[in-house]
Subunit: 345 residues, 2 copies
DNA sequence: GTGAAAGCGCTAACAT
DNA sequence: ATGTTAGCGCTTTCAC
C-alpha cells in the first residue's frame, strides 16, 4: 500500500525558507555567482544538504543553462566510439555538466532529428561525432548552440573540430607493410559519392593517404583500391574482388577493423592463411582487433584524447561563443599484431 | 562576418499571433488534446510549418511532460546493449518521445548520478538496463518517475521488468554440450557477493541454471564452477584455473561472450585446439561471436524484443502510473557455431 | 551584499 | 470550442 503520489520535489523556495534567505541568494550559491558572502554560502549549502535539494535542470534552462552536453554518435555498435565518450565524460565529470547521448543514427534525417531534439531540450553544447549531415546543416546547428565536430575534416568558422590525422594513419600502415617487404598492397575503402564528404570524411582521407604513401614509395603501379563499405560485408566482398585479380595482392589494408573482419572471413573461406599467404591490416584499433584469436594489426586513434579535446573546446566555446574556431588534429599510432608479416617468398 | 547572435527562437506566442488564435489553442494542437476543431488544427499546423516552430521541451516539462525517455546502459562497450536500444527506439520512433542515453556507468555511485541527472532533467520515463544499484534505490527512482528495469530478475510492485530467462539459456548450453557427448562441463561465472544481487542478477541465474541442468542430467559429480568476472581478463584467468585441474574439462560454458574470448586466448596460449581438444560456449551472441575467425557458440537473448517490451511497458506506465507492475520474461535461443563439437575420444 | 519582482515558454485551470 | 490567467522552478535585472 504505497502512496503512489510522489512527494513534491524540494524547490529553491523551500531551501530559501529553510535557510532564511532569499531565493536569489540560493540561486547565486548554486551558480557560484558573484555576490554571496561566505556565511551566506555556508548557510545555503547547509540547507541544501539538509533538504536534499537538487535543482531542476529543465527549469534552469528556461532562463540560463541546463548544464547538459549532448553527444551524437552515429553508431553505438562501432567499438571505437566508447573511447571518445570516455574522453568526453572524463573531462566533464569534474564539472557541473552532465553528458547525454543521442541514440545511434544513420543518415542525415536521423541526425537532424537527434540534433534538433537536443537543441529543443536546451542543451548547452553539442559534440557531433562523425556526422554525415551537410556542412550547411552543421553550421546551422552551430549557430544555435555551441558545437564541436569530431572525426570530420574540413574547417568552419562556426564550430571547432577535432580529428585524427587519417592521412598519417594510412601512411603508417602502408609504410609498415612496405617495410615488411610487400609491394602489392591493396586498399578497401568506404565508397563515397557526395563531393563535400569526399573532402571531409575520414574514409576518403584514408584512401587518399594510401594513394599518396604508395606513390611516395614508388609503388604507383601497384595501387589497387576496391570501393565497398566499412562493414564486415563490405570487407568480405572487397576481398572476394581482390582474389579475382590476375596478380593477387600480398597485403590488404582495410580502412576499418570491421571491414578487416570481412576480409579475414573471405580469406578463411578461400583457404588462404593469414599472415602466411597474405597480410591484413585494419584501422581504429577496436576492441576485437585485440582479441586473441584475431590479433589484427590496426591503427589506434587515441579516442580518449579526441574526446577530451572535444570536451575542452566545447567548454571554452560555451564560455565565449565569439572566440575563433579551432581545429585540433591528433596523430594516430600503428599497433602491429599477428595479421601482418613478410610476404611469402 | 557572421552575426554571432543566434536569432531568437520561435515561440508558441509567435505561432498564436501568426495563426490569429490563442496560445492555448496552439498548445492543444501540439498535444493533440481535446478541444480543437479541424479548421483550428489546420490553421495552427500551417502557422507552425510556416514559422518552423518547435516546442521547447524544457519549458513543456515545467508544467507537463518533456517527451523524453532516459535509457541507462551500464556499459556501452557491451555489444549486447545496442540490440536493446534498437528495440526501444524502434518502438518509440512512431511516438513523440525522444530517447536519450546516459553514458556508460559502472557501480552504484555512477548509476545514481545518472538516474538523478535524468530525473533532474524532467524525463518522463526511465529504462534501466542491468542496474547494479540496490533494490531500495531502484524503488526510490521508480517512485519519482515511471521506470522499467531490464535484465534483472526479481519483481517489485514499483516498477515493471523485462528479462531474459537466464536459467533456460544456461540449460540450453549444458544440454547442447551434453548432447554432443560432453560430461566434464565447467562453468565460468561472474563473482557476486551481495545477497540481493545473487538472487536478481543474470550472472547468478546463469550459474544456477548451469548447476540445475547438470544435476538434471545426472552430472552432479562433474559440476565445476570458477568464479571470476564477465570480462576477457576474467575468462582468461578462469580458464587458466581450469587447466590446472587433474581431470581438465572437455567443455567450458562461459557466462558471457566477453569471458569466452579470454577462454579462447588461454587455450591458444596452452596450445589446445578448439573445438578439437575442448569446446567453448558463451552467452549473449554478441557481434564478435559471429565473426568468422571466432565463430563462437552462444545464446541469443533477442535484445530487440527485450527493448521493445521495455518501451511498451514504459509507455503504458506513463499513461497510467497506478497500474499493477508487470514482469516479462523472454526465452533465449541457442546459436551453435564452430567452437563446440563432440569431445576428443 | 542582499532581496523583491519580472520574466523564460509552456500547460492547466478556469472562464466564456 | 475558444480564450484568459495563473503558475511550473529557476535566473536575472534592478533596487536597496
Amino acid at each position: 500500500m504505497e502512496p503512489p503520489a510522489p512527494p513534491r520535489r524540494v524547490t529553491i523556495v523551500d531551501v530559501a525558507r529553510h535557510a532564511q534567505v532569499s531565493t536569489t541568494a540560493v540561486s547565486k550559491v548554486l551558480r557560484n555567482a558573484y555576490g554571496a558572502s561566505p556565511q551566506m554560502q555556508a548557510k545555503v549549502r547547509r540547507a541544501i544538504d539538509e533538504l536534499g535539494y537538487r535543482p531542476l535542470a529543465a527549469a534552469r534552462g528556461l532562463r540560463g543553462q541546463t548544464y547538459t552536453i549532448g553527444v551524437m554518435l552515429p553508431d553505438i555498435r562501432n567499438p571505437f566510439f566508447p573511447e571518445i565518450l570516455d574522453g568526453i565524460t572524463g573531462c566533464l565529470e569534474e564539472t557541473d555538466y552532465q553528458v547525454l547521448m543521442g541514440p545511434g543514427c544513420n543518415g542525415e534525417k536521423a541526425e537532424a532529428r537527434v540534433t534538433e531534439a537536443m537543441i529543443d531540450r536546451g542543451m548547452d553544447g553539442l559534440v557531433l561525432v562523425a556526422p554525415v549531415s551537410s556542412r550547411a546543416h552543421l553550421e546551422h546547428v552551430a549557430s544555435v548552440v555551441p558545437t564541436v565536430v569530431v572525426g570530420r575534416h574540413g574547417h568552419s568558422p562556426a564550430y571547432d573540430s577535432v580529428t585524427d590525422d587519417d592521412v598519417a594513419g594510412a601512411t603508417l600502415v602502408v609504410g609498415h607493410l612496405a617495410a615488411l617487404g610487400h609491394r602489392r598492397i591493396a586498399h578497401i575503402e568506404h565508397h563515397e559519392t557526395d563531393p563535400t564528404r569526399i573532402a571531409e570524411m575520414p574514409n576518403a582521407q584514408r584512401a587518399d593517404g594510401y594513394r599518396r604513401a604508395m606513390r611516395n614509395l614508388g609503388l604507383d603501379e601497384e595501387i589497387d583500391v576496391v570501393s565497398t563499405s566499412y562493414t564486415q560485408q563490405g570487407g568480405y566482398e572487397g576481398m572476394k574482388g581482390l582474389l579475382t585479380r590476375p596478380h593477387r595482392p600480398t597485403a590488404v589494408f582495410a580502412g576499418a577493423d570491421f571491414a578487416a573482419m570481412g576480409v579475414l572471413e573471405a580469406l578463411t573461406e578461400a583457404g588462404l592463411s593469414v599472415p602466411g599467404d597474405i597480410s591484413v591490416a585494419g584501422y581504429d584499433n577496436t576492441t576485437f582487433a585485440a582479441l586473441g584469436p584475431i590479433s589484427l594489426t590496426s591503427v589506434d586513434q587515441a579516442g580518449r584524447e579526441i574526446g577530451a579535446n572535444a570536451a575542452r573546446l566545447l567548454l571554452e566555446r560555451i564560455a565565449d561563443r565569439g572566440k575563433p574556431s579551432v581545429q585540433v588534429k591528433l596523430s594516430p599510432a600503428l599497433v602491429p599484431r599477428r595479421t601482418t608479416a613478410p610476404p611469402p617468398t
